[in-house]
């Protein structure tokens, strides 16, 4: 027994080392940076101060950016769930020989980078883009609508990018639910909505949790879509962190922003996870 354990321990070792060296050590360095002080021209000065965190939480501008990021990520998460669940259910239950092709179609957008996809949306949303042209041709508008550089454009873009993650996660879980259980519920008089609410949803809960957390985290850390579709006046946390590091060379404040973003994302994911599990366990 003991040799087997030591072999298992040795096998876990490389992955653990990779995580420690590739994630935990950089995070520790970043946290230390967040306690330093920024002096223009000198990059950062060694210090042990919480002023970067104080600056963030006492400035309504930065708090508003965090709240906006939470709102956009939350809306995208709900949209992915609501729109993705029926699609995942249909994919899981279809007996078509084209099923693998359909799954590939869901995954296909992931083959294209975020920036390229956002560029496609830019063509669609531009003042002389496809959408405005079509609306103009059918006579619904007489002047172009401002679609680009809006929160709506960012939500559409992030939802489209994150949707495959939700659909694939849900589909694999729904496939594991025996269809006979749904038939049994129906034969006992449950209406389709009741079957969904009382049978399918609770059984698919692990997939819902995994999918929503995945999509929420991706939304919180979105970078290319808010920049390209949101424009210069729309700020989310990802571009804000990048701007501090790469634009202003303010590493201490950029590091503090990273930790605020990471803490908010992880704690909200953990809290929602616990809340949903408790609610449906009853």
């Amino acid at each position: 027994m003991a040799p087997r354990r030591s072999v298992a321990g040795a096998l876990v070792g490389p992955a653990t080392l990779a995580v420690v060296l590739g994630l935990l050590v950089p995070l520790a360095i970043l946290f230390r940076y967040s306690l330093n002080r920024f002096v223009p021209g000198r990059l950062m000065v060694e210090a042990l101060t919480a002023e970067n965190y104080v600056k963030f939480f006492t400035d309504p501008y930065y708090v508003a950016v965090l709240l906006r990021t939470l709102r956009v990520s939350g809306i995208c998460m709900v949209l992915c769930l609501v729109l993705g669940f029926p699609l995942a259910y249909a994919l899981a239950r279809t007996g078509s020989r084209w099923k693998s092709v359909l799954v590939m179609l869901v995954v296909l957008p992931l083959f294209v980078g975020n920036a390229v996809r956002a560029a496609g949306w830019m063509v669609m949303f531009g003042s002389r883009g496809l959408l405005n042209t079509l609306l103009g041709v059918v006579g619904l508008i007489d002047r172009p609508l401002q679609l680009m550089y809006t929160e709506g454009a960012v939500i559409v873009g992030i939802t489209a990018i994150n949707m495959p993650f939700m659909v694939l996660t849900l589909e694999s879980v729904i496939e594991g639910i025996d269809p006979a259980i749904e038939d049994a519920a129906a034969s006992l008089g449950a209406r389709p909505l009741q079957v969904f609410r009382r049978v399918i949803l609770p059984l698919a809960l692990p997939g819902v949790l995994a999918g929503t957390i995945l999509v929420f985290i991706l939304g919180m850390n979105a970078y290319a879509t808010p920049i390209l579709l949101g424009g210069p006046r729309f700020q989310m946390m990802g571009p804000l962190v990048y701007g501090q590091f790469a634009g202003l060379n303010n590493w201490p404040f950029g590091a503090a922003l990273s930790f605020v973003l990471m803490t908010a994302t992880l704690s909200l994911s953990a809290v929602s996870n616990l809340w949903i599990q408790r609610r449906y366990r009853r």
Binding site: F38, P40, G41, R42, L43, D59, Y61, S127, R128, I227, L228, G231, P232, R233, Q235, G243, A246, G247, L248, N249, N250, W251
Partner: protein, 348 residues
């Protein structure tokens, strides 16, 4: 057996000697002394350095140049981060004049020894500093589409004219340029942009449009979304070449200079090659190449740009009298707070 062994040993020693002489006798190409690393922007700038400086002038001298490509802020961060190392990773850096001043203040730059640059006597006076050598320059002008803005603007005040409401474009990353423009018409100067902030807030009432990048502005000018903006003249020339219908006007309040500098880090491993590069980039052929392709003016007096090009990229005597040099110390010290104001107040 012994004879055979002796013969082999002799042949081996002879072979070594021949190989050694051959190596010593070869030109220095490929040896550590002839390799250098240049920190630069990517895209056209990097490509044109290769085309105009490295391939025709440095390669025949046996100097091989490797480009370390990144944005200006990232390379400045790298210079500061490497300052404690005895040997840095770059021999030469291309920075904006504001960036090179900031690095000088941070104490990471080598003083320039102009006696090591043969072309130095031809350098225009404003392009020489104790720590940087100007490579190319342009000036900040008003670009406008004559079909949308008539009569032609003459002053930065024209951007604030209510007749042009909704036709003015602002580029997010050019916040310093916009602050300079606003400052020049509101009683400020190159050492104090504070009066410009209030003036910029007035622009908000005129429904200006903001674009994230220079390229997005070019697109907006091309499609007629906006008809006027503040930009470097050189960039205007490039846009004209790309079919964007704009003309350039040097505002009467002054033409703020933009200089692209080269600096040598204190811990550059190959300073001799860095000086060779500085001399090569000032060669008339290299300077004319940049003028014709990128629309920037030569920083040396002996580079004669064709008249047709000079008319498009240069400045008349009258305009040259209005050239204004930014106060780079002020910008270096205030960049962070100016950007914060721009993001939090102006863009809000």
């Amino acid at each position: 057996m012994n004879k055979s062994n002796d013969f082999t040993r002799r042949r081996f020693v002879k072979g070594l000697a021949v190989a050694g002489v051959a190596t010593l006798g070869r030109p220095g190409r490929g040896t550590a002394a002839e390799k250098m690393v240049l920190g630069t922007w990517g895209g056209d700038y990097s490509k044109l350095l290769t085309q105009n400086v490295e391939t025709p002038i440095l390669a025949p001298k046996g100097i091989e140049v490797v480009h370390d490509i990144a944005g200006d802020p990232q390379r400045r961060a790298k210079l500061v981060a490497e300052q404690r190392l005895p040997r840095g990773t770059t021999d030469l850096q291309a920075l904006s004049a504001a960036g090179s001043r900031e690095m000088f203040n941070a104490g990471v730059l080598e003083p320039i020894d102009y006696t090591k640059i043969a072309s130095a006597p031809h350098l225009l006076a404003p392009m020489k500093t104790p720590f940087s050598v100007g490579h190319i320059y342009s000036g900040q002008v008003i670009l406008y589409n004559p079909a949308m803005i008539s009569p032609a603007p003459t002053s930065y005040n024209d951007l604030w004219d209510s007749r042009h409401a909704g036709k003015v474009g602002v580029i997010d990353i050019q916040y310093v340029g916009m602050l300079e423009a606003a400052t020049l018409i509101s009683g400020g100067n190159m050492e104090n942009f504070e009066p410009g902030k209030a003036k910029l807030m007035e622009l908000r009432k005129l429904n200006f449009k903001m674009y994230p990048t220079n390229e997005a502005m070019a697109q907006a000018l091309k499609t007629g979304e906006v008809g006027m903006c503040v930009m470097w003249k050189a960039r205007g020339v490039m846009w004209q070449n790309a079919g964007v219908p704009v003309q350039a006007v040097a505002p009467k309040e002054g033409v703020v200079l933009y200089v692209s500098d080269f600096v040598i880090p204190k811990n550059a491993p190959n300073k001799a090659a860095a000086y060779a590069y500085l001399d090569a980039m000032l060669a008339p052929s290299a300077q004319i190449g940049f003028a014709e392709t990128m629309g920037y003016n030569p920083t040396v007096s002996n580079a004669k740009v064709p008249d047709a090009v000079a008319r498009r990229i240069g400045f008349t005597k009258d305009e040259q009298a209005r050239l204004l040099s930014p106060n780079y110390d002020y910008i270096a010290k205030n960049d962070s707070q100016l950007k914060e104001w721009w993001d939090k107040i102006f863009k809000a």
